[in-house]
Symmetry: C5
Subunit: 306 residues, 5 copies
Amino acid sequence: MKRKSQARNDSQGTSLSSLSLAHGKRARLWRLLYGHGPGNGTLLVLPLDQGLEHGPTDFFPNPKALDTSFQFRLAEEGRYSAIALGIGLADKYMREHAGRVPLILKLNGKTNIPDDAEAVSPAFASVEDAVRLGADAVGYTVYVGSPRQDMEIREFGRVRQECERFGMPLVVWAYPRGRDVEAKGGKGSLYAQDYAARVAEELGADVVKLHEPAADPGSSPEPYRSLREDAAARLRRVVRSAGKVMVLFSGGVKQDDDAAVLRKVRLYMECGATGVMFGRNMWLRDFDGALALTRRVHAILARCPR
Amino acid sequence: MKRKSQARNDSQGTSLSSLSLAHGKRARLWRLLYGHGPGNGTLLVLPLDQGLEHGPTDFFPNPKALDTSFQFRLAEEGRYSAIALGIGLADKYMREHAGRVPLILKLNGKTNIPDDAEAVSPAFASVEDAVRLGADAVGYTVYVGSPRQDMEIREFGRVRQECERFGMPLVVWAYPRGRDVEAKGGKGSLYAQDYAARVAEELGADVVKLHEPAADPGSSPEPYRSLREDAAARLRRVVRSAGKVMVLFSGGVKQDDDAAVLRKVRLYMECGATGVMFGRNMWLRDFDGALALTRRVHAILARCPR
Amino acid sequence: MKRKSQARNDSQGTSLSSLSLAHGKRARLWRLLYGHGPGNGTLLVLPLDQGLEHGPTDFFPNPKALDTSFQFRLAEEGRYSAIALGIGLADKYMREHAGRVPLILKLNGKTNIPDDAEAVSPAFASVEDAVRLGADAVGYTVYVGSPRQDMEIREFGRVRQECERFGMPLVVWAYPRGRDVEAKGGKGSLYAQDYAARVAEELGADVVKLHEPAADPGSSPEPYRSLREDAAARLRRVVRSAGKVMVLFSGGVKQDDDAAVLRKVRLYMECGATGVMFGRNMWLRDFDGALALTRRVHAILARCPR
Amino acid sequence: MKRKSQARNDSQGTSLSSLSLAHGKRARLWRLLYGHGPGNGTLLVLPLDQGLEHGPTDFFPNPKALDTSFQFRLAEEGRYSAIALGIGLADKYMREHAGRVPLILKLNGKTNIPDDAEAVSPAFASVEDAVRLGADAVGYTVYVGSPRQDMEIREFGRVRQECERFGMPLVVWAYPRGRDVEAKGGKGSLYAQDYAARVAEELGADVVKLHEPAADPGSSPEPYRSLREDAAARLRRVVRSAGKVMVLFSGGVKQDDDAAVLRKVRLYMECGATGVMFGRNMWLRDFDGALALTRRVHAILARCPR
Amino acid sequence: MKRKSQARNDSQGTSLSSLSLAHGKRARLWRLLYGHGPGNGTLLVLPLDQGLEHGPTDFFPNPKALDTSFQFRLAEEGRYSAIALGIGLADKYMREHAGRVPLILKLNGKTNIPDDAEAVSPAFASVEDAVRLGADAVGYTVYVGSPRQDMEIREFGRVRQECERFGMPLVVWAYPRGRDVEAKGGKGSLYAQDYAARVAEELGADVVKLHEPAADPGSSPEPYRSLREDAAARLRRVVRSAGKVMVLFSGGVKQDDDAAVLRKVRLYMECGATGVMFGRNMWLRDFDGALALTRRVHAILARCPR
């Protein structure tokens, strides 16, 4: 298949050896990329911040997932590269998993009760909290393009400096958001995701979490509006815009068709992603189903060493 | 009775032994759960912040309660697990009760003179104040879903970090509030209380104070809007959403029917609550009446060891 | 007279011996209550912040009062418990009065050029300034119920903590203010003053300055709107709501009838006030007139030991 | 002439010996009042912040003044008490004048591109910068009566405290400003200038720069609206409202009639000013003309020792 | 040619020897002016912040430029005085170029997704970051005239003070911006650029980046509106308004006509610029074309020693 081989040549993802890193950051990134998970330079991350971001609503399809032990067990038995969650859940549930599952401590968040027209994601934990908990990275949401971006960017800058100080890798949830993003094609468009990828790179992320970009609607700015690219081309574009920042694609809302999920993973990896961060598409299945699907994702990642 | 035994199996509340805690926090929580009050892992807390939150209006039914000695005496003679109040009242009235009644120092608050469309609760005392006063916990209100949630969450995060530093348990008054909460079913709905419970868990509370959730009106989001659950099911749901955070239910406005109050307590405990935080339903009665009712609450809690 | 004796029994004001206080705070409060002024536990305070709060307008009836030496001389010769003013006036005028007249350093203030719909009173001096000047207390205005109360309360909390640190008594000007106060009966109503008294207590004031409460208009909330209490009952009510916080009543705008002023003082003291803080009603008279009136106030206070 | 002698008796300006001052502040003020300039306790200050406040527009009448060497030379050859300008100009141009011309480092400023309805003047240099540059005072603009006065006053308070710490005199540009000032008679009215003078005194200025007050229009508040005072009476009034704060009057827009300028200086000094701060009225003339006018101002100041 | 020689006499640009500088700042500026680049006191800077400021859109004409190695190679092989970019790009790409290409670390930035009516550029890196990376200067955008200028100016002031502390030269991107700038002739007008130049000087820049000023439209304020100056006169005017601050002119959007680009460079240098900062006009060409054009710019700069 032409697309596949082309992807292999063009965009194999960023590898640790190509990066200049301080010792602490290198050690922690090594643990995530080679010491756990697939172990071949790819990343498989299990995120759990939906309870804060969306409320318990998200757990209705699988009430057992309300108990964070579910996700910790899944992360450990499924050999995830890391679990990504906030201080409250980490503090209460990681005891028996400490050391066995790397932790990405998510530092900021908000509810979705007010709308996102002027979204801002406040920090409620610090890099020092992450150090104390033995985390191997911190996670931080930046609402790219929000009218309150000055607050977002300034706070992000302080977090990044703390990361330098402690040798802590920084995973950015780069989420286009706000009324101007909506007016310019929406948060899911290639324009928005591509811009978000570049912002993550220029602001100093080590890893960026993005959504699969959709084709741009008529309200997107040029030249995006006139692009006619397929899904793979769009994915490769945002991976390219992220430069040396490792890209994880998210799963978004749960999909019932396992094969469709796996096709997505394959596509993302062919297009240069370093890995995937799938939450609801994993922990909204029953435990055994989630584990089985996880194993099939492992099989795909195993074929894409970075 | 079926409901009772089911509750026993499903949701017996969180116990101290199931939690990973730093020494200081464990010591203080132990004092609250076993060293005072019912002494069996349940909590009976007497709150007094209504003078700030609602004004002297609340005291008209029992003017003697305006003198905080009333509540301190009630807390001591009624063997409450703790009294929860602000720095001004603690400083002026706890002298002869120091050591005999544990203190939960409430750190933030506001008046209800402006409306709650953009509610925010500013801190006027610190965790260090709590340490100086010998408190066994601090209390903090978070207005879940307020348009100014970024300010709330950020300030909460700083308080939580101070709590880590000093080994101080953190009791969160998780109150849905603000114009968007009102537009989505109101602050008392199951949707709102359930979300608040989860927010408290993810942000890192040790104990959360919630209100008994009401059935959702048509303006609540799905799937809540379509749920048809009885009071017990709703209570169990929010307890579950709080995870390992201990849940206290509040009494709300005063109810004259003692039997109704006790039925509530019984129901809350059956549904997994760790205890209750009843203010006006206690101190708006004459002293002997309040003491008698307190004893009957003790009798209920005694049957629900955690 | 029945009212008088009743007042004596009910509300004799707060005395120093009934309070738990750190050494420094006790020493400074002792100086104000017994070392200067009436010397019997009552307080007679001469405030001078009207130039900042209202502009030079207030001084037109007595231009000599524009020179702060006037008030310092009056405070010393009239044996006031303290003079209360800001850093600029204290720095420039207290030299020859240092030690002879205790100083209450007023830390915050604002002009009345913008209206008070969203009033906030910014600090322009610190508790450390007060220590450096040898002050025996600091003064702080809290605009109770302002839409920007979160800023007011948070800043107040920091000042209170500095007061703890330095053993500095804290006198709160508890002023209901802002558009919501106006919509609920106005700043002078019993509802508003009663709420302000309680707020001062819960936030941690040592002394509170209030205005004599007026009967509530129809726009006040219940139960205030329906109360039918006379002036003395209203005064006793706010004194009660202040708890162990010592209450000073202010004089407000100048009254030309000396006898009326003295009747007010007598009434306030009978209703449980610890003293009065009269500015314009004193320093807008010619020096000898002010001194004579001061002496007659002393005579009243002398009969009300606390 | 009656007016003159009256002025001599009433308001001779503040002298250094009448003030209580910390050593550092006294030393620096002495340098300004007696060590440089007229040397008799009066002040002649050359300000240069118009480039920031109004843009290069102000320099069109005399393009040579765009080169700050012009003002430094004028200040030195004209024996000014001090030159007042910001960090950028001081850093780049004071080398050969250091020590010969005292520096008043202006700490805050803004452009006039947005209008002044909610004016606020942000600090871009610190008292520490002033110390490092060997300045003898700092300058600070306070927009009296601006809707954002809380920000102004709070920041001013921090600067004043730094001045205490370093013994640095504080010169306040007390400028009434903002939409409420405009609604109440405008920034140039006696009401506004008189209020500004008092604000400077209460906030803790050492020296205040004011504009000559104009008669109040019908929109000014009473009693100002009904005053019928001549220019001298108005000037004396604001000098009196400034108390022990030394008053400098500004020159405002350039006036071509030298005699008119000198009449103003004479009037200001007769009315109690400590000196004048003339910028455009000096440096918008050719160098020799500016120097000649400066000398004639010196002659006036020489007759008004303080 | 008359214009040329006139330019030589009037405005030869600022030279290092004419400035009073702390050792660290002089050493770093020397490196930029004489140790690298043209080496004759002129500056040729390659900026790369367009990915953050405008999104990946800017790179469509030359996708290879998305990989920051392209610009680093160009900067090194083209012997630029420095490359100017943010922390993310510097961290990830400067390894093999460290020491060979001086770095100007751009500290602040924002996306262009929200419009610029109230533009503010938040800092996401610090002067300390610049020191750690071995940078020879920092870059900082000030949106001159924005409604939020108080935030801009205050943050700038803090950065400038850090620069003093570390001996770090400060390059200001002085960009007129915001709704009031648009109402007064627009960001490109001589009025706006001339004001921006002066603001940079008064705030304390060492180097300022400006755009070539356009003739003022009818909405510009006087006297600009009535000026009838040619391009060279306008350029000389803004260079003069910048005083001793070295001026770099930017290239703006890409121009395909090489000769036109070179004519611009020649004109800027004749009018007193210290150099140029051309980004898109360089790195949007293919590598060899960019290098060739760079060499021709070098030839021009070589004839304009400062």
